[in-house]
């Protein structure tokens, strides 16, 4: 089989080397999978050709960008791995119209570095901002701490082009993005995206406030999220606050779209604070909290949910204005994940959260969402060639 890929992609475009098969078996989740082969296409025609070939021989592929998924979204389970990081050209930058058209393998950080000179940026910067590719950003419909006001990745896309499971090239306009954004590669391979851009706003400030009780925190968070000048409201529990060098209390860190509303105004301090919050999970990992769970909680249930976490001694942080909560568990307590997600579902929460479903949350997916994915599969990937075993 490798000879077929080598003829299409050249020798450097395919590998069944033991070394490559071992390292590509992992993503950010720590789950170990297996793969017979890794391919690196750089042309959309090659990808279409590959899809036709795979359907003919009954094989399936796992689409991979940076492999930073925390839920096993990039772990192959016997699939051929299609690494798209070499499919990474910027096709067109329209700095006047504030758009950029590019291939999925471009790293978000590299793209924003390019855009700086035009005072532009893609405004959605998820926790794995430093490492996520554009394809991964779209496949997970990424969000960040500011998404309450700014929306998610889907809201900043003009169109994408995908190759579906039958090898067909499809241009997807904004009305149909929902069939591919956030579907974790189960319905199509993103091969091009035209993104909308925002002007960089440097006039920001932040404030930090501690609370004794969860009820005080959630009431304040609700009040803050209604303000026009509030961009984000981060939440930390006492343990998370302590890790970040703050008083060990329930804490809100609020960012404002001006320099007047908050006490912290230094650009460096604001950036350092954001980096520390984004990398909180890694700090926990050095203290053996290696399991990171997330869910989206309805606003009216947030107080109840945070109290439940407190009662069950589960450490947490998140975006208070969005109800997006991240929790951290050690190896010996990872069994709490089941009750965590059951509780999330019992209060009408969304288990996909920020990280998606991948492999680790599959068993918690409700029938409604499963059926949605099945319908997409029937239309765009009837042979179930793409990211088989993910989500459903």
């Amino acid at each position: 089989m490798i000879q077929w890929f080598e003829r299409l992609l050249t020798k450097s475009g395919a590998s069944d080397d033991q070394r490559d098969r071992i390292v590509y078996a992992y993503d950010g989740s720590g789950i170990e999978g297996q793969t017979p082969l890794i391919i690196w296409p750089k042309d959309v025609r090659h990808i279409a050709h590959i899809m036709l070939f795979l359907r003919r021989i009954g094989a399936n592929i796992l689409i991979r960008g940076s492999g930073s998924s925390l839920v096993g979204g990039a772990v192959p389970q016997g699939d051929i791995v299609m690494d798209l990081t070499r499919f990474n050209r910027v096709i067109h930058l329209g700095d006047q119209e504030k758009t950029i058209t590019l291939e999925p393998g471009v790293y978000l950080k590299d793209m924003n570095n390019l855009l700086k000179r035009y005072n532009l940026e893609f405004p959605i910067k998820p926790r794995n901002y430093k490492i996520t590719t554009i394809g991964g950003l779209i496949a997970t419909n990424a969000l960040d701490s500011r998404s309450k006001k700014k929306g998610r990745a889907k809201d900043w896309i003009e169109y994408i082009e995908i190759i579906d499971g039958t090898g067909r090239l499809v241009k997807v306009d904004s009305d149909n993005l929902k069939f591919f954004c956030g579907r974790e590669g189960t319905s199509g391979i993103i091969v091009k995206a035209k993104l909308k851009l925002a002007e960089i706003n440097e006039d920001e400030s932040a404030s930090i406030e501690g609370f004794e009780y969860i009820e005080e925190l959630t009431a304040k968070a609700e009040e803050l999220s209604r303000r026009e000048d509030v961009i984000s409201v981060d939440y930390l529990d006492p343990y998370s606050s302590d890790i970040l060098g703050l008083e060990p209390r329930y804490t809100l860190i609020t960012c404002y779209s001006n320099k007047e509303s908050g006490e912290i105004t230094s650009k460096k301090e604001l950036k350092d604070m954001r980096d520390k919050i984004n990398e909180l999970g890694f700090k926990f990992a050095t203290r053996d909290y290696i399991y990171d769970f997330d869910a989206k909680i309805p606003e009216e249930k947030l107080t109840r949910f945070l109290n439940w976490l407190r009662e069950n001694k589960i450490i947490s942080s998140g975006y208070a204005d969005q109800g997006m909560i991240h929790c951290y568990l050690k190896e010996e307590t990872k069994g709490k994940a089941d009750m965590f997600y059951e509780f999330v579902k019992s209060i009408g929460g969304d288990i996909t959260g920020e990280y998606g479903v991948g492999l680790t949350k599959k068993k918690y997916v409700d029938e409604d969402y499963k059926n949605k994915i099945k319908v997409l599969k029937e239309k765009y990937d009837p042979g179930n060639v793409l990211n088989r075993g993910k989500i459903i």
Partner: protein, 116 residues
């Protein structure tokens, strides 16, 4: 999963890795090399790690030193005879001339420069 803590598995170390940016192959990234080190698999790819330390400076907090693990694996590679032509040249030059690039006059620039 002794070395493979979350920091390494996250892949954040790739963001600033010059070797990874050239090869765009996971096996050349700090994460890939640490996976191979964890499994004790000797591979000449360990010589492509340039010990610049960017992954440790710019990556998130990590419990272990990547440099130490890479060097440990390189020692093993040498013990197993899996060295590179450049390494052999430099080692021979060091033994014979005390200089990895051979016999040079003061101020002379070597005709060939290698690294491992």
């Amino acid at each position: 999963m002794s070395y493979l803590n979350k920091s390494i598995l996250s892949g954040f170390s790739k963001a600033s890795c010059p070797a990874y940016k050239i090869f765009l192959n996971e096996a050349k990234s700090p994460r890939g090399l640490m996976i191979l080190a964890e499994k004790n698999i000797p591979d000449k790819g360990f010589y492509d790690y340039c010990t610049c330390g960017a992954c440790e400076v710019n990556g998130p907090v990590s419990k272990i030193s990547l440099d130490e693990e890479i060097i440990r694996m390189r020692e093993r590679l040498v013990e197993e005879g899996m060295t590179t032509e450049a390494n052999l040249k430099m080692i021979n030059n060091l033994k014979e001339k005390g200089n990895p690039f051979g016999s040079l006059k003061k101020g002379e620039i070597p005709e060939e420069i290698w690294d491992c």
